[in-house]
Symmetry: C2
Subunit: 190 residues, 2 copies
DNA sequence: GTCTATATTCAGATAGAC
DNA sequence: GTCTATCTGAATATAGAC
């Protein structure tokens, strides 16, 4: 049996393409060539590209939610939690060559089904809620300085992370991501 | 004679479409219907869609550069200058329905000609340079608090502005833009 | 400068055999 | 589950008349 089943291979290929070229930037023909089947066969797994986009976002939500839980479980201080989330965003960009699925899908939201638009909202809400907790922890344990409103910090940081990823990829400069996050990093002591 | 010539009307229509649907999200047929000519006629003004994208970005750069100069000329304090730039980004999003051209083009950079990718870099560099000046002014005149490194502030704020615009449009919530910028606003006193 | 007509390519999707 | 074959629509682009 193969290392990954066809359906998973298609999801992997589609996610990579969506994050590199945008959801409008790849076709079933591209996936077919990448995975090694004919494009008509893809419709057996994902009847339409719209349903593929739903499956992609669903999987992304669950994966990211799990990562957040693991960070919380393995890091006591708010500062350490936030640092690991930033690392996640940096790594997720693959050296500035790709965007996270949330940014990529947000940019072309008008060509996505309403289901996905709703999922994007849920994703952002999930991450903001998690980050609000991290900033609260950081305020209590002193590992993040200057925190007065954890929720506002989380909403700002969400935009900062997404904007930094967009800029870094646009400039083909992974370092730009870290530069944009330097001032936040300087507030973290543990 | 018409209020706007055909070429300008095409640029206006294309910019609106690109910022709403992305550069891959509109076609010459859409422009033709919007402007009221046949799609073949568009090729007389813009031989290819790639050249149209160059013209769009060129015009955007010049317009925005002019706006920045006007803000500098009309506002003495760094805080006032920065506030006006933030206003510009908020207004440019048309109540959260559109992205600025830089964000929109950055998201689909892989389907744009190299000329435009280079222009996007120049645009970001121009705005970051301008904002660095505003933060320097704000540090000197005390109108922006807590500024230690004006350039890092400018780079961060650029990402914050673009990320906030992306999030606000994604959520169809213009208020989200201001929420993401609240903490920065609180640092501005004049 | 705008038109009609057309070329070419490629997209997402379906039917039905194996 | 995968294939071949095909449909339909839409995209960018070109040629040449007016």
């Amino acid at each position: 049996m193969p290392v990954t089943d066809t359906k998973t291979a298609l999801l992997n290929s589609a996610e990579h393409a969506a994050r590199t070229l945008g959801f409008d930037g790849f076709s079933y023909a591209d996936l077919a060539e990448d995975v090694g089947i004919r494009k008509a066969s893809i419709h057996h797994h994902f009847p339409s590209k719209a349903k593929l986009s739903v499956a992609l976002m669903q999987r992304y939500y669950e994966t990211f939610n799990t990562v957040c839980s693991e960070i919380t479980a393995n890091n006591a201080s708010g500062g350490a939690q936030l640092t690991h989330l930033i690392d996640q965003y940096r790594m997720g960009s693959d050296d500035g060559k790709r965007l996270c699925l949330c940014v990529s899908f947000s940019a072309c939201r008008d060509s996505l089904p309403q289901d996905v638009v709703d999922q994007i909202s849920l994703f952002r809400a999930m991450v903001v809620k998690w980050m609000t907790g991290a900033f609260e922890n950081g305020r209590k344990d002193g590992s993040i300085s200057g925190v007065t409103d954890p929720k506002l910090e989380a909403i700002s940081t969400m935009s900062l992370l997404e904007g930094a990823q967009l800029a870094a990829r646009s400039e083909e400069s992974p370092e730009l991501f870290d530069t944009a996050l330097t001032l936040l990093h300087l507030r973290i002591s543990a």
